[in-house]
Subunit: 244 residues, 2 copies
Amino acid sequence: MEFHYRAIGVVHSCFKEKFGIPRQAGLVPDAQGTLELFEPFNRKAYLEGLEGFSHIWLQYVFHAAAMAANKSKVRPPRLGGNRRLGVFGTRSNFRPNPIGLSLVTLEGIAYDGGAHLKLKGIDLLDQTPVLDIKPYIPYADCRPEADGGFARERPKAVLQVRFAVRVRATLHAMPYPERRHLVRLLVQVIQLDPRPAYYGDQPQKQAFGMHLGDWNARWQLDGVVATVIQLEPRPGGPIFRDIA
Amino acid sequence: MEFHYRAIGVVHSCFKEKFGIPRQAGLVPDAQGTLELFEPFNRKAYLEGLEGFSHIWLQYVFHAAAMAANKSKVRPPRLGGNRRLGVFGTRSNFRPNPIGLSLVTLEGIAYDGGAHLKLKGIDLLDQTPVLDIKPYIPYADCRPEADGGFARERPKAVLQVRFAVRVRATLHAMPYPERRHLVRLLVQVIQLDPRPAYYGDQPQKQAFGMHLGDWNARWQLDGVVATVIQLEPRPGGPIFRDIA
């Protein structure tokens, strides 16, 4: 039995690469994106009523996951990457059917010719094709009594995030709302230690970098302290840099 | 952009027809079913770790929903069937991409040559093709602060369920565990008043019937009292009837 689905829209995300994407939606509240709906689904008629919900489910395509239909097991980063579990026992994106499921905050809907849903708390890679939107219904979807198996505990912040002097200068040159957002986003992403689990045994003095929104960020690890040592706009990045 | 998925398994449900299926998973806790996994996904390797979770998400195909790609609006029964909302503002099964999402209780996994997941609290039609299984992760999926829009309130029991004398006789002839289960299931389904919303203005003295598990049930409405007046085994139904 085969089933065919088409994308109803595409996500524009602050996460431009897999590295740094939090393990679940909601872990980085300031992670923003928009869902751009395609014709005809960008007509208001399709969305009426959705604006009354604060949270929505997205069902989408893990478009960057290599098809791994023959793989029955994965190594969840949660377990340090050294224990293999059945793929259906995890939320891994390497699944027989690469369909994702994320609960995100709906900040608003912009009707600007088409329709863009403003999202927060995302864990979605840029350009993710979306198959469906469903409202989050707390009485049905929120089950505090559920046993979360090996993922019972919310991942904790394990790193302290600091900013090097030259990075602070870059930040202070930014308008306040953008600065506040970017600082929060950097702290929220880096403090969860986005390194793959297999780095656990490596020497601690290492630098890591990622694309985050309109920026390239680079940080240096020293024990549990992560210092952001570089922050540069990406090509086509923030406009106020050109104005300044 | 088109995406192709195949069924990893199929649901065997107590709900043999659409009528009577609760509006959301979890509303009828005693609604049982099994998910039969297909080769090769019925190998233990695919499921290892899942047994530690009490609840799971199923992503599945609304196989009995007519494709309604051109319909942008639906009439949620929740709103009495007289208000139209955008399909993405609802959980209607008439969706541009007919993909369902249900949170169900995982009672256990039976490895019997293949693999069967025992489920409770389902809202799934018999023979539903399943695309994916994901563990329910409370810290990510349970958001008590969320605003449930037009579906804020959990649907209430609106009917009192009684059993006619001859139905009670049938029930008392059953072994206790089956009797208890069937009584609970009938009460939980009927008390939510599964009639389509457009019956609201109709005369109240009407009989309704449905297939439920191995049984045909029929009840008579009189105001807010629903009396089960008929309970017959279906062909291929419960074995103990043949023994008695």
